[in-house]
Symmetry: D2
Subunit: 108 residues, 4 copies
């Protein structure tokens, strides 16, 4: 992986982590929290694995491919759930998740 | 800290982490998710810091006291929120949080 | 998974996490730190994924199987490295890693 | 905190996390690993708390101030250790740590 690709990947993971955590926080403040329950659950799953993979990549973990495979799957699941909801934070989160899933697939 | 006290503390943190994560999952499946929003938020905060402190203690981190001080505060806040709700998972979580807050205060 | 199996798995992960972090800390204090470099690296990898999986299981993550597959691989790699070294903390860590790898394979 | 300050803080934490993890990985490959033992230990401590605080800030945790206080202390300790070593990765890590400690102090 070139240094530029590596920096881009770390930034994509970081953007997805912050988008998911922002969506998590925003969903908890919506009127229709019940409708957002799966979104809340998956936002946490996705934020946590993106954060984990960021750290793993930057410490040169020998298991980046395996972790990126799982991360791509979680990002896709979170993006698909977020996409169902019209809240701006959900739509932005879906975009970040799908972009991150693609980036993870490239290294997995 | 004696070895027995150390094992007891790790177990208390572990019990609090699992109680909070179980409560998080259960709250997301309740009918009244909106009423549980702060409980969901604090369950995540508390599970994550307990997990973090467990790892820090077991790797002999030089910052255990400072982390335990923060953990005690988060456990107390989570326990107070959980205590308001009559769900069995909330009441059990409150007990685990208060027990963990006490254990953390002893080393902070 | 029965409740007993679930409790056993959480305990096995917890034991592996603490064994790896204890080994990490002990390796850093050995005379021959250079010889322990890969052990130090893998101890961190293994402690972190065990801690992650513990939390994921207890919050009923939809991705437990995928995470357990990665965890089994990391536990095996850490166990194989630890097994090479005669320090008591390395041998105990290897045992905990292999036991945890087996437990993870059963749910992956 | 303005949105720009918030973005800057997340970036500073991210830079410190990656610098610490890069330093951790590089130290493990140095000839003089024994001399780097405390650097390796503190790099992990610092990378982990920066990663934790990044996530906490982005999910609007009610405990940002307390966590930032601990993070500032850990960044300072890691920066002081790194500064003792002439390796390029240590010097760069020290800079990132001191910058991050300052940023954390502003919100703590």
């Amino acid at each position: 992986m070139s240094n530029q690709n590596y920096q881009d990947l770390l930034e994509t993971l970081h953007d997805c982590m912050t988008a998911c955590n922002h969506c998590f926080n925003s969903c908890l403040q919506e009127d229709d929290v019940k409708m957002m329950a799966e979104c809340i659950r998956l936002d946490r799953e996705c934020a946590d694995i993106c954060s984990y993979l960021e750290s793993a990549i930057s410490r040169n973990s020998p298991f980046i491919k395996e972790l990126a495979t799982v991360c791509a799957k979680i990002c896709t699941a979170c993006g698909e759930e977020c996409k169902k909801h019209q809240h701006d934070h959900c739509q932005k989160c879906a975009d970040a998740c799908f972009k991150c899933a693609d980036a993870c697939k490239k290294i997995s």
